[in-house]
Amino acid sequence: QSSPQKRQCAFKNTTANKIFEDGGVVNGSVQVCESTQCCVGYYRIINDQPRVDILACDIVEMSCPNNACIAQPAQVLNNITSIKCACNTDLCNNNITWTS
């Protein structure tokens, strides 16, 4: 985590969560991460398809071992099925790898 180059992540914030903007400077659809090497994507499964809610620098998790954004096991919370992915290369969270 002492890389001289700052991680860049795809940025999208459909629900306007201000806290995600604390993760780094946002320029259009790209965020330059201030204090993490991880990008993250959060999706809800709607009509069997993932719909992106948030793409950002990952200020929640502590680690991201994958290069590509591979979906973690689905979670059902409040009767809603959600998936997330985290990854450690620039803009890697633009595409989620997921099989229903």
């Binding site: 806290i19 995600f20 999706y43 809610d53 929640v60 998790e61 919370l77 959600s82 997330k84």
Partner: protein, 111 residues
């Protein structure tokens, strides 16, 4: 700013002979979309004289029990202060990030 509080490390060191903070990490998979796990810590250790960080109530209760009233609930080692944690919640309208209070035990005492 620090999104995950660092006050954990200022808690009392683990000491089996007295009530204090002990590291504990649990899964949040059934509760939140993120993080996957959190170090929520736990308070553990005996509450005997002199009590750790007691209230006046706990001191009076301990004296009462030490005077032979063993049937009363004795003072118990529990969290007395907490830190918040940044978590991801899911609602029908979307996915949210928020500060969840009372998630991480940061101080212990006999109550």
């Amino acid at each position: 700013r620090s999104l995950r509080s660092t006050r954990d490390s200022t808690g009392k060191p683990v000491n089996a002979n007295t009530c204090g903070l002990k590291s504990l990490t649990v899964s949040l998979f059934k509760a939140f979309l993120g993080p996957n796990t959190a170090r929520i810590n736990n308070c553990q250790g005996p509450c005997v004289f002199p009590l750790s960080n007691p209230t006046y109530h706990a001191s009076l209760l301990n004296s009462y029990i030490e005077n032979g009233n063993a049937e009363e609930r004795a003072p118990c080692c529990v969290p007395t202060a907490y830190d918040t944690l940044v978590v991801i919640k899911v609602k029908p309208e979307g996915t949210y990030i928020c500060l969840q209070p009372n998630m991480l035990a940061s101080e212990c005492g006999c109550r």
